[in-house]
Symmetry: D2
Subunit: 346 residues, 4 copies
Amino acid sequence: MKKVAIVGGTGYTGVELLRLLARHPQIEVCAITSRSEAGKAVSDIYPSLRGEYDLAFTEPTIQTLAQADLVFFATPNGVAMKQTPELLASGTKIIDLAADFRIQNIETWSHWYGMEHGCSQLVAQAVYGLPEVNREAIKSANLVANPGCYPTAVQLGLLPLIEQGLIDTDYIVADCKSGVSGAGRGASVGSLMCEAADSFKAYSVAGHRHLPEIKEQLALAHGAPVGVTFVPHLVPMIRGIHATVYARLNEPSTSLESIQKIFEIRYQNYPFVDVMPLGSHPETRSVRGSNICRIALHRPQGENTLVILSAIDNLVKGAAGQAVHNMNLMLGLPEATGLKLVPLSP
Amino acid sequence: MKKVAIVGGTGYTGVELLRLLARHPQIEVCAITSRSEAGKAVSDIYPSLRGEYDLAFTEPTIQTLAQADLVFFATPNGVAMKQTPELLASGTKIIDLAADFRIQNIETWSHWYGMEHGCSQLVAQAVYGLPEVNREAIKSANLVANPGCYPTAVQLGLLPLIEQGLIDTDYIVADCKSGVSGAGRGASVGSLMCEAADSFKAYSVAGHRHLPEIKEQLALAHGAPVGVTFVPHLVPMIRGIHATVYARLNEPSTSLESIQKIFEIRYQNYPFVDVMPLGSHPETRSVRGSNICRIALHRPQGENTLVILSAIDNLVKGAAGQAVHNMNLMLGLPEATGLKLVPLSP
Amino acid sequence: MKKVAIVGGTGYTGVELLRLLARHPQIEVCAITSRSEAGKAVSDIYPSLRGEYDLAFTEPTIQTLAQADLVFFATPNGVAMKQTPELLASGTKIIDLAADFRIQNIETWSHWYGMEHGCSQLVAQAVYGLPEVNREAIKSANLVANPGCYPTAVQLGLLPLIEQGLIDTDYIVADCKSGVSGAGRGASVGSLMCEAADSFKAYSVAGHRHLPEIKEQLALAHGAPVGVTFVPHLVPMIRGIHATVYARLNEPSTSLESIQKIFEIRYQNYPFVDVMPLGSHPETRSVRGSNICRIALHRPQGENTLVILSAIDNLVKGAAGQAVHNMNLMLGLPEATGLKLVPLSP
Amino acid sequence: MKKVAIVGGTGYTGVELLRLLARHPQIEVCAITSRSEAGKAVSDIYPSLRGEYDLAFTEPTIQTLAQADLVFFATPNGVAMKQTPELLASGTKIIDLAADFRIQNIETWSHWYGMEHGCSQLVAQAVYGLPEVNREAIKSANLVANPGCYPTAVQLGLLPLIEQGLIDTDYIVADCKSGVSGAGRGASVGSLMCEAADSFKAYSVAGHRHLPEIKEQLALAHGAPVGVTFVPHLVPMIRGIHATVYARLNEPSTSLESIQKIFEIRYQNYPFVDVMPLGSHPETRSVRGSNICRIALHRPQGENTLVILSAIDNLVKGAAGQAVHNMNLMLGLPEATGLKLVPLSP
């Protein structure tokens, strides 16, 4: 049994980690911290977990956290970087579910996140935790930056195309839609039921923090900068992200069937990517509660624009599930341990 | 490994059985039938199950079904009774998730279900599959009538009170609320998103088929008829039933704390009933996707009316989960096998 | 043209007042106040009102408010009572949409609202603004307490029965369900989309502030105290209240048809109460956006318990619409002016 | 008073016409037809209209319809064309809310709608009923093809750009999202609450019938064919369409401010198009129940891709409201009569 701790356990990614780890056969959650809820039982805050944990929330001290083999930071941006050096020095591995270590370019990070980076010396050694790209590096990493939810859905839809040089990388459109849980459990007017239900809107069209993450990672795959227009939207649902990605084919003669084949081969050894048959339309509910990313390819009217549909559960493959996947890799466990979740549908 | 078959697998209880059985360590689903979808792969109808089953839907012939150790009927009322005699004769056990064997009084059944009973000779040997009442009988049963969703929630909230003679059984009010999945997957205007979402209503106030089931079972517990006013309502959500039950205390001096104790003792050996602390308000989402019934007790203003809150997932504890529980008992497996499901919340 | 002002215009009742008054032919909104949003244009906070108002939010000074013929307080409890004496003295009429003047018994009020009453000397002259009871008194009132949303739905369902002495007033059950807008526009975790959507629960079962209001008003109608068990529930929808009221008939021989007749006669001169045909099930969406209360009567199985279904839009008949109705009466306008709203369905 | 009739009044566009016409000061609905519901009162099918109409549904005979000054066809595709010649001959004007007369190219129409056109001789005289393009032609038309919902939102977002030659018309992306009411009131599994709620998906990516309509109309504006990739998505909400349109600027030097100005001038005399301030994000709820199209312009990161956001209520500006607008024009009434609707929000 390995021990893990969760810092910032009162948000949606925190409770989702608890849900997943409750059935993980080789993990014991030894601590869960929350300054605001310290002293309260987990099951009082989350009745869905009654009977699953005896834990109470505690203060996030280094002593507490250093007892764990691995610590998850399910905290706001800027928190993990403060405790990372000391924890790593104590031999504890770290997965940050926030953005502190997602972007290698420190200047870019500071620009988008509006603060100085408090731990820039460790950014270079952080591994970007997308197992479909960095599985081997993650296995030997001590510090993993868990990807953003939108970047996960978008990259999985684009990587085979970029790696094979099939599309015009100057003009990619990623029209993305997220459930409201992506905004977190903080009490804000915009996330109220009466503000978000039965309505639809775009937001942050001028620029969203996941854009530089997408661009940096795709540039790595491409070996050169890529041009992406990324527009997020808010869907009146709880969980789920759907990315609709538009890309121009470099060669009109490339058949859709051959691209389908490329996707199937690219992901055949990755248990959490499902390349659906041609003509499919993945629904977010078909991945609800699971760690799966379902992808489908289209080429409307046989014209030159490829449409890639990519659906994940933002709290699982887009956050806590991918973090557990990374944890399995970092701790030497079979990668799918505890993650064979059947989606809840309807 | 035991083999089971599912008749009528295209409805919501059918797919929920498939979801649960996909992770059951000792069960193999050997057949799933549907006249309308015969020949199609399960994963084509239910993309959420892609990668879980190789099965295709088949015709529900006796030959196919008799290969199973146990057959689930997830069919409309009136279907199971037609194949039951032949299947039982072949040594296959049966769980009917519909209403064919829920009511012992044949006349009452015919009145409420509007048809002659096609298999009345077997009704007496059918066991009513509420494990919290009939666990031992279920273990030795060949034919189990899986309870209705409303009756499950209402009975679990009332049984300790009736068994202990604490309430006025002449005047019980069961105000119940169900998610739309209770209406099934049939294409009907009333279940359309645009008809049911963002609205609330009562229905079938004049009389709902679950009323005679509730009354017969409570009368068995009481040893005499009981008076129940049962009003179902439609909630704009997918899963969940919440029963708010009102009962008058026989003795005003009975303390709420003593009643709480009675509930805790009554259910202490039943793994799927959670008696919450006094003052709790169970939410349906706290049991979403799980087989748990959460109950909380209130006595507003210290007056003579007891309010019992009871929440289940109608597709799990109210249907497929309870059926798997019954299956475990009937097949000699530990009763919670495959049912340790952590609720999906949010 | 009469002038009105709205204090506390950033909540849901405030914007609903603006929606209704935008098309009122004889009303000009001369001021809308909000300390937090002072200086911002109404249309910036509420894009749905773009093009309807040139107003900006201002500070709620007496000078500003005293220019109006009538002031609406769409504020938290305890605010209206502070400005009421001075405004009344200046000749301005007042409608308080909060609870400051809803309960005549000051002690009861202080107990339930947890504060001293700052204006107890004016409570006795406040008229309870349920036009179906107090139409004439409202016409000559200077200070009207706009009823709570639950009390409106419950009283309209019970008044004819109590006035005619038809039911056992010792044991009434009011099982009520509200959309999330009833919780207001304040940023609280419990009202988040991810907390309230796709779930259902009871709340405040131990005691809700609308209980003493219901009991005081029904006692007035009855001429003696009444016993009511009131349980509110949260429905995953935006607008709407549905009350399911259970009452025992005093005389089993009273026919449902005769009760139907009594309801029809009782409300025949009240334009906003719709007594539906026997057997109906009012849906909240059938009153969405309108000032109508729809009522239907049932007597399940012909037994002794009457079930009354009552549906309103909590923001209209349960708040802003009833306030405009009261305003019309107080200002000598035809009572339905500006309130002939066709419900939005689907 | 002018008389109108509605053919096919049981669908969502039919009831929406009834909602709007109930308050139209110069229109009397003299007949509403439905083969399936003939004989039933409108208020029995639509309780939201109780007290508004005395009408019952009747058979759609020519005699009945010819009494009207104008007939709305709120019918499935292929119905209006059968009665159009006879009705026009009798002097009755016609607005078809379905697709029979939306596309001038008969071959294209037959290809996409999968049937022979039964009235091709009248297509050329039909006016495409987008008042922001064809206001004058509509005034003198006898036969108007009411635009599709998606085409309305997309065209209004693109027309000023195409008319001014500002964008690359070879590669436009229209990523569109619709509420479920767009699928109509027919009983289909895909529109069930349990299938569509709390989920998101694309559909008909290979080709949707609104694509040829969009392309034909944009080609008319451009004077040459345009290239559009159109992907519709299903949003778990009742009403609303949101189009997110991506277009490449021909001249990078064109400032966003100048484009904003072009939009403002283009629509300044059209009462139902609201060009929002730069940086806005129109929500569909901000137009719920109203005839308004809200548009906002963005140019993310100052790069070469323009993002146009366009939101309408699919049942109003996307169907019944636009039809009433066309009716006003055809009958010589002020164009906004009966359409000054304040959106319902929240």
